[in-house]
Amino acid sequence: MKDRTVAVAAALAWFSMADLGSAQGFAGLGETVEDGFTQPVPNPEFSFPADHGAHPSYRIEWWYLTSNLTGSDGKDYGIQWTLFRSALAPTQTDDWSSPQIWMGHAGLTTPDQHFVSETLARDGVGQAGVTTEPFLAFIDDWEMRSTASQDADALSALTLTARGEDFSYALELQADGPLVFQGDRGYSIKSESGQASYYYSQPFYTVSGTLTLPDGDVEVTGSAWLDREWSSQPLEDDQTGWDWFSLHLDTDERVMGFRLRSATGNDFTAATWIAPGGLATALPNGAFQITPLTTTEVAGRGVPTAWRVQIPSRGLDIQTTALNPRSWMETLFPYWEGPIRLSGSHTGRGYLEMTGYE
């Protein structure tokens, strides 16, 4: 896997935007926007199922699913399934000339192992893509396929598969709540100067399925969270990375919160408090406070793997610890992504993603 990643990285450094620590921002999201890409604007009106599909006129987009699982062996697990779309130009055709590139990331975390797989695809020839009726997001043999009934939202029931060199998983997901729109009705601001993306989630999945590990199959159950996001320039030039949390509280509430770190010390935060029924409340910049507690040396860099997370307005003051502090995604643009446990004012589980740590 390693040699493959490194080699593809050589060919595709544009995607990795290798200099994560520079003022260019993470994953190229902070690059100067080429002319012609559509920019997100406030007060979006989503239309489903069309908006579950791709938006090729936007520069970047993803279908991002994380799941906290418990095995029949009593151990905790986590999986990640992500399909990225990146546009070289804001158009799409149905042949090789289509200027869109697809990238898939799959992760599987156990208390002492972390499996990663990555794959890339051209658009236009059928190796990867997203169809809306019926909903199917795929790259190679990885699939996120809707099993929802005609009248339900396409994302309310899914099957999910992915495979790496030494692992695979097949899961069934059933949502028992509505889609949740982040930020201002799905318009998610990323900086004080107004950089933004369209962003909605489905945080209400219950999950069951099978993980295939080198030692054998494990039956699992748990919860999952799907993010849909697209934009053309979500990051400011001085924003060097982010810390993103999705929390499933044992009170059946959910929390999404992120901090965009600024090279100038001017960090930006946003969060959404989600009631058990799906009612979402956006919290303003500064309401979501995080403090690193423990730093783990992983992949040659110090990454904070235990945090204190506070939302004083909601009485939340917790510590998060990683299921596996070495949940490092050794991909084209490497980052940390893994399941976490919560303790303190609230208990529960969740997922943490951290980018831009040098």
């Binding site: 493959r4 544009w14 090789w96």
Partner: protein, 802 residues
Amino acid sequence: MSVFLTSLVALLSFWRRHPGQFLTLLGGLTLATALWSGVQAINAEARASYAEAASALGQDELDRLISPDGPFAEDIYIALRRAGWAVSPVLEGTITRDSGVIRVLGIDPITAPPAAQTIDLSATEDLRAFLSGRVYGAPELVATLSEGGFDAPLTASANLASNTLLMDIGLAQQVLDQRGLISHLLLWPSQHKGLPPIAEIAPMLDRVGPDTRSDVASLTNSFHLNLTAFGLLSFAVGLFIVHSAIGLAFEQRRTLFRTLRALGVSARVLVGLLVAETLLFALLAGVLGMIAGFFIAALLLPDVAATLQGLYGAAVDDTLTLRPSWWIGGLAIAILGAAAAAAQSLWRLWRLPILAPAQPRAWARASEAALRRQTALAFALIIAAVSVGFLGDGLLSGFAMLGFGLVGAALLLPVVLSALLRLGARFASGPVSEWFWADTRQQLPGLSLALMALLLALAANIGVSTMVGSFRLTFTGWLDQRLASEVYVTARSEAEAEALREWLEPRVDAILPIWNLEARLAGQPGEVYGVADHPTYRDNWPLLTAAPDVWDRVAAGTGVLINEQLSRREGLFPGDTIRLPRQWDAPIVGVYSDYGNPEPQAMVGLSAFQARYPETPRLRYALRIDPRLASGLMEELQTDFGLPADTMIDQASIKSISLQIFERTFTVTGALNVLTLSVAAIAILTSLLTLARMRLPQLAPLWALGLTRKRLAWFEVLRAALLGALTALAALPVGLLLAWALLAVINVDAFGWRLPMHVFPADWLVLGLLAILAALVAAAWPARWLSTRAPSDLLRIFANER
């Protein structure tokens, strides 16, 4: 130490007093090394180019999936990806531009395995540009194409073979007009576990291992073996010179050796010194030879490159790179050669009694017994040659046969000459004439090495020029048959082809489609052609063997034709069947000659071709038209129909291109031939120089008896001319046998075709005169030396002071 040094100075001082001999020795060794290393440099360059081409997309490391039926639909690629297989598509093909045949490589940089990433696309902008149409090519190709003829942004890259363009697979599909097709899939070295077997998803694909040797390398192997054989021949001829120069120096330094030994220098030291001297010469000549060899190679390489491109479609850089292995190899062969040439002299010195009479004799004066041994060896070699010829199979045994035969013939030469001279002596009248014949025979042993060299050079010359001449005659006749149509035109797309047919209909006598499919024939990459039922083929096509009603059966689709290469390689003849794509076991009804094409080929009737391979692009056409109207038609095609000039070619141009390629093919052989012949001339010169000095004691009595120095000198010249002429005469049958072997054995193995032999007696006459001239030129210097000897020198012979 001082003994060593003093002795060395004494030995080396000889060369200061004989600068001519010094130059001969150095020149001989330099020339031998130069020819050998030049050929090696060419071979090395070509092989490096093949390796580069083979590794262009990691074929030398990666497994591939190919279809025996040629290019396949990209849906199969997608099906494999969707099943989890890490594969990456490649589309490969050729296009023809004014500059020649260009290999087009289309890749998908997003899925390509690391080993296949020839071009560095790590910069965002480079990848973006590549995906949106940037094309990479070797610098020379880019320079040529930039002047026009290719409509895409071109970027030079030294990583690509010289005739190759690398582009995105999408663009390659357009350029090659193979939309939706790929020619093979590269397999990533590591694959995910638990995938369904490839055979279930894509049963039509075969998995093949890495190509460590490209097809081109094995095809061109024979060509390089040919060059190597020539290089070796030149080297051997060069060694004759070195041998005689060293032998001469040895004879002349006999007195010096005796003196040194008498002064207490041991045989061991003396031989050691001479070994050191030889080594010194070898190193000096080696370096000079390498430099000369480099220039020879640089001079010949463009022709070799053109030949390989024309004959095999193999791209070879025509600029030379200096490789360390080449330097070491060249110096080693110079040293080995010098050692071989000096061995005899050193051995004699080793066994020389301290106070041996330092009487210079005609060295290497062979006894009757020695001559008998040589004759026996010659016959043994000739018998070996004949048996290898009969029993052996393949190119190597072909060359072994040639080698044995040539050396055997050379060894036989002194015997034959001796017999001829004895015959000549019968017609002698008067004492001077009798002396002349007897003295010529007496000198034969001293000259025989040089004459053997001349024989080899002449025989090679006759053999090769007969082969080339026969080939040229056959080839031009064949071109006339094969290229019967007046104009050849290629449309750029199906739609254009359709319009083109309509446009042409009223304007030409016949439109003959030339549609072809790349496919594996008997396991080799080859082509299947569809041909129309038309008198153009019935009347002209060069069939070697044919079943009855051959053209009716081809037209009906119940029989196919194959080319001679395929027929010979696989032993297929009319009556056999050949497996064509789509599991078609087609009966063979004829074999046609197909010179200049290394690949197997089959021809099927057009209707059968269309029925079985309906998706093949129908782009190329041969047009029959009154030859006087051809150029007008081509103009109209450009102005009225709007086809670019590079999509069409007329009969005369294509013929001249073919002949040009043909001529260049043999430029190298011709050049090496001339060089070998001049080496032989130098060998004769050295031998005569050696003899002239040693023969003074034999000539002095004649002078004393009243023959003038001038007359004696003329005798020397006459003798050289006589020997040259006799050797040329002896070389003729050897050369013709060589030509036969080249045409009937080597060519068949190397290229896959057998050519009828034609003889060119006028050429022999020229060559015979050339041989005599070479001998005359070589004799002129020693003769002049003799005619200008002071009488006192001759008188001194009779004084007992030596």
